[in-house]
Each structure stands twice: as C-alpha cells, then as structure tokens.
Amino acid sequence: MSATAETVEQVHSISGEKYKYGFVTDIAADKAPKGLSEDIVRFISAKKGEPEWLLDWRLKAYRRWLEMPEPQWSKVQFPPIDYQQYHYYSAPKSDDDRPKSLDEVDPELLATYEKLGIPIKEQEVLAGVAVDYVFDSVSVATTFKKKLEEVGVIFCPISEALERCPDLVRKYLGTVVPVADNKHACLNSAVFTDGSFVYIPPGVRCPMELSTYFRINEMNTGQFERTLIVADKGSYVSYLEGCTAPMRDENQLHAAVVELVALDDAEIKYSTVQNWYPGDEDGKGGIYNFVTKRGACRGKNSKISWTQVETGSAITWKYPSCILQGDNSVGEFYSIAITNNAQQADTGTKMIHLGKNTTSRIISKGISAGKSDQTYRGLVKISPKAEGARNYTQCDSLLIGDKCGAHTVPYIESKNKNAIVEHEATTSTISEVQLFYLRQRGIPEEAAVALVVNGFCREVMQQLPMEFAVEAQKLVGISLEGSVG
C-alpha cells in the first residue's frame, strides 16, 4: 500500500511539474518518455489521433487509477511495481504507412518471428487464418481482410476501428470491463495503445478463425492491449490469441483488457495460448501478466466460451469471466495452467448467472512443477432471478515433484434455491509406475511426463482449434523441461 501511495505521490509531482510547461512530449517521437502522467495519456491519444471522447475516457481512467489500490486478494507475490520505470508508448520505425502485404514489413520484424519459430506465411496460407500482428503495441500487418469484408466482418486494430466505425467502438468500449473495474484494467483504459476490434454482423458465421499474435520485444515497454469483440445477433466467431516473447532481463508489466459482447443467439469462442517469458529458474526477468478478460452474454441463447493454455509469465493473474445476462445463455471456461520453476499463477473464472436457465461449465487443469505455486480461484454467482441456473465445475491439479503447490479456491454464491451447482476437485501426482511403463516402451522420461500431462489436459486440449492444439501440446512438453530427473 505504501508503495502505491509513493507512486501516486511521484506521479502527482511529475505530472504536475510537466503540466506547468504544457504539452512537452515530441509528438513525432516513436517512443514516449519513461513514466506515466496525464501528459503521457494525452500524448498517446494525440499520437493516435483519437476523438475527444476517448481522450476524456482515458483521462477519467487515469485519475481513477491514481486513487485505486493494488488488488491484494490473490496469492501471487512480487515486489511493488514502479510504474514510472516503463515506457507507455512505442511504435515500430515504419508506422506512418501501414504495410499492405508482408513484403512491406520490416525484414527485421519478420526475422524475429522466424526466430520464434512462426513461419508467418505458412501459417496464413495453410491455416487460412487472418492475422492481425501486434508488435510493440501497434499492428503492423493485417491480412485476409478482403474475405472478411465480403461478409461484413470488421477485424482491425482498435485504432483503425475508431476511424471506420467509431459509433460501434463507442457503444461497446468499457461496457463489459468498466474503467475502474480493477487497478490493472484501469491502467489499461488510460494508456492502451492498440489491440484488436472485431465486429460480426447479424447472422454471419465468421468464415475463418481470427488470430492475433502478440509479441513483446522492445526493452521496457509495458504492453497494454485492448481487445473488443462484438458478435451481433445470430453470429459466430472463433478468435485465437497466442503469444511468445524472447528472453529479457527486466520484469515486464502486461495489463491487457479483453471485452466480449454476444447478442441474441450469438456465440464467441475465445482461445488463448500464452507462453511469455517466465523468467529464469528463480523467476527473474519474467513477465507480469495481469489480464482482465470478461464476456457478456447479453442476448438470449448466447454463448461465450473461453479456452486458455497458460504456460508462460513469471506471474499470471487472470480470470476470464462470463456475465450470463440473457436467458438460456451459456458460459464456458476451459483452462490449462502450467507452472514450473518459480512461476506463480492465480487464475480461474467468474460465472455470473443473471438470466433464467443460464448454464456454465468450468473445467480447470492445473499442473505445478519445480517450486512453482498456483491457485485456481473461481466464483459462481447465481442471482435471485436466475431461475433454473446450472453450473458444473471440475478442478483437477497435478503435482510434479514435492516442492510445488496447488490451491483450489471455489466460491459459490447462490441466491436462488432452485439453482444446481456442482463442484468436483481432484489432486494427483504422476506416479512412478506410469513413468516406468512409458519408459519401458522406449519413451524418454521427459517425453513420458509430457505425455501423461497432455493426457491429464485432454478435455481442455480438445476445445482448442486444431492448429492451436498441436502447438499447445508441444508447449506442454517444453514448459515442463527439467521438471523431472
């Protein structure tokens, strides 16, 4: 708390001082100076040529942020964050002219992707995926636009959406995750630089999986993406978010916000594979991943399904949630969280049942190895009016070794006596005889562990789109390297 107070002090003094001299930051600069102030918020907004209402919205968020305490209830532990040490805006060198094809993209960027093992072209062509690359907060390439435009799907950087369909953005932005929802989301609202916007018109089934690859690559650049997906009546979309980041030395703050809105009879499937740098064996240098993801099933018969595979980051703080407002709406949360070495994860979901006959399903698979620690934290809330509401929750933990921890914290608040809420939880280990059996068939120890873990996660893996599932299965093996033997 005192650290926060100190930061607030500091921010006040800095912003106050700068303000005396007016708008000092060079608008042509590719990078905002370090630190956070009202001036920086204005800089970001000006840099992006935003409308007045959005600047006001950001400033409101910034002022609320100054007052808000850090969330204290989770189990993760880390030293106080010095918000003044980050740059809140940086753009790739050639951002004046957005490249229309990959040929126009900075070869250095392409080389980075190549190193990460992501053959962009192959992915696009083979998987038929429209990719909206976010590189250091600014989108540099968007493909497959035409095909999407034909059916009226809007899939573009949120900054572009502000020009193409400002009313849509204004109508939905911040309506699922309010500006002052929590300190991390509040910070995002003040300083978000980009992210994706998706709109699926009524009755349209999006013809391809939409995919965004986030990368964090520049020194000391906090990442603050903002994603907004609106599925209009009777529409369907599947959205993939995946990320890896190269090695780096300093902790990086990442506070993204994702908002989903599903109207009558609409369905949104949101899948994530998160593999950011977890830090070294002691967690040094890893990424702080403080994400607010929430979906609103606003219309009747709507459905939102979150699937996540979380293997990276030094600290993960993330609770993709569903507000089940429409009658008969469905919320799902499928999660695999793997922590190894010194990683910490506090993750789970909230299912808020408001409408009649709303159902939710939670399947959480946690794997802890090394000296890592993870917590499943879930809330199932059933309001008095949610007649016929049902929830099923299953939380399974798998421990590898005896130095790691797993905790399950399921909260159930049912205010409707007819609601049915079921909860099952298990904790297990990989048995010696299982490993021996697999090794006796020639499978080396680490591969044997990966196989058992993949088996443990199967129910969730099956929820992932094909090409993602293959990647995720490999990731399981990679993230558990060195956890046995």
Partner: protein, 250 residues
Amino acid sequence: MLEIKDLHAAVDGKEILKGVNLTVNPGEVHAIMGPNGSGKSTLSYVLAGRDGYEVTGGRIIYEGEDLTDLDPEERAAKGIFLAFQYPVEIPGVPNSTFLNEAVNAVRRYRGEDELDKIQFVKMLRAKTKELNMSDEMLKRAVNVGFSGGEKKRNEVLQMAVLEPKLAILDETDSGLDIDALKIVSEGVNALRSPERSTLVITHYQRLLDYIVPDKVHVLAQGRIQKTGGKELALELEEKGYADFVGEEAA
C-alpha cells in the same frame, strides 16, 4: 542373448533376488514358474531397469553388454520388452498416440526414420487384425476401463508393434479366456525367430501347451531352484512348490 550371473537385487532395502543365474540363447523360449512372492516380477523389473530395484550384486549381460547403467528407455530401444503383470492406466492418452510415440522414440534412438502418420496407422491396423483386436480399443485411453483380459491383450499388441528381441511376459496368460489365450500365444509364436528370445512368467502349464518352452525354471526364495524341460511344468502342476519352499524354510 541374455546372461544373468549371480544376480542379487533389493527393493526398499529388502533383498528379493538372492543369486539368480540364467542364460537364454537367441531363439529360445524359457518359462519361469514359482510361488507367489518368489521374485518373478522383481526379476522382470530389474531386467527392465525400474527405479528402486537396486542391483546389489552380480551382472546382467544382454547381447554382450552390461545393462546395469542403462535407463529403462535405453533398454527398451535395445529390444527389451516387458509385458506387465499389472498393466498401467494412462488417463487421457489414446492407445494409438501412446504406441505412435513409443515406436518413433525407439526408431529415433536407433537412428532410423520415424514413421509418418500413414505408415504408422497402416502398420497398426495390420497388427490389430492379427490379434483380433477392435480398432475402438486404439482410440481409448491406455488401459483405462479395460477389462483384465483386454489389458493383457493390449500388452501383446504393444509387443507386436515394438517387435522386441527379448520379450518378458509376466503372467500375460492370467485372466485370459481360452480364445484370447490362443490369440495371445499365436502373437508370441509369430514373433518367434532364431534372433528373438522370450521369457514367459506363468503359473499355469496350460500356456506352455501353446507356447512350447525350451526350458522351464523354478524361481523360489529369490533363486532358480530347478531347471528342466517342458515336463517340469507338468510335474509342478501335480506336486506344487512344496519341495522348493520347504528346502529353504527349513
């Protein structure tokens, strides 16, 4: 093929094998019989290199090489296969995925090209057909919810797929119905060749009608107490193990 010399082994500090001597030549089938708790499974685990089964004396020479320092997966890659007395369940891992991983891991170790999906499926189909197994069992998680007999058949399928040089079958006949016993025996016999050897651990001489052994050994009290031909099995069936157990206990 296999030469076990004065093998002593302990589990949790307790000596179970107390000087086992056994030589199996290429192409031979040997049966090991013996009372419950005499150390038959222990011997099979020691041969396969299971952690915790400590060799405290003697040597195991397989194809001229001392096995002591090799991991289970290395022994497997060199052609040693153990059909478990109690096959292990691996929840969520489809049988076919498991077999695919095993085959390719072994091939990688031997410096051979991995089988691609199509080659693998073709090979697997042929094996299941031979063993009269349903493809449905390939999709199910390894041994999960399998009946006792199905588990044993699954062990034989794995053996057929991996084509080991030295197969150790630990009571693979227990729990099999007559038809399955025939099929499993045929599976074992199909692998019989001048280069391959088999160690069959069993309590029932009936199996040995189908898989005719070159030698029968009696393992009791951690040692091979007697060796003979097929007729020894018949003799044991009649008289039981009293002779061997009494001798030491006295």
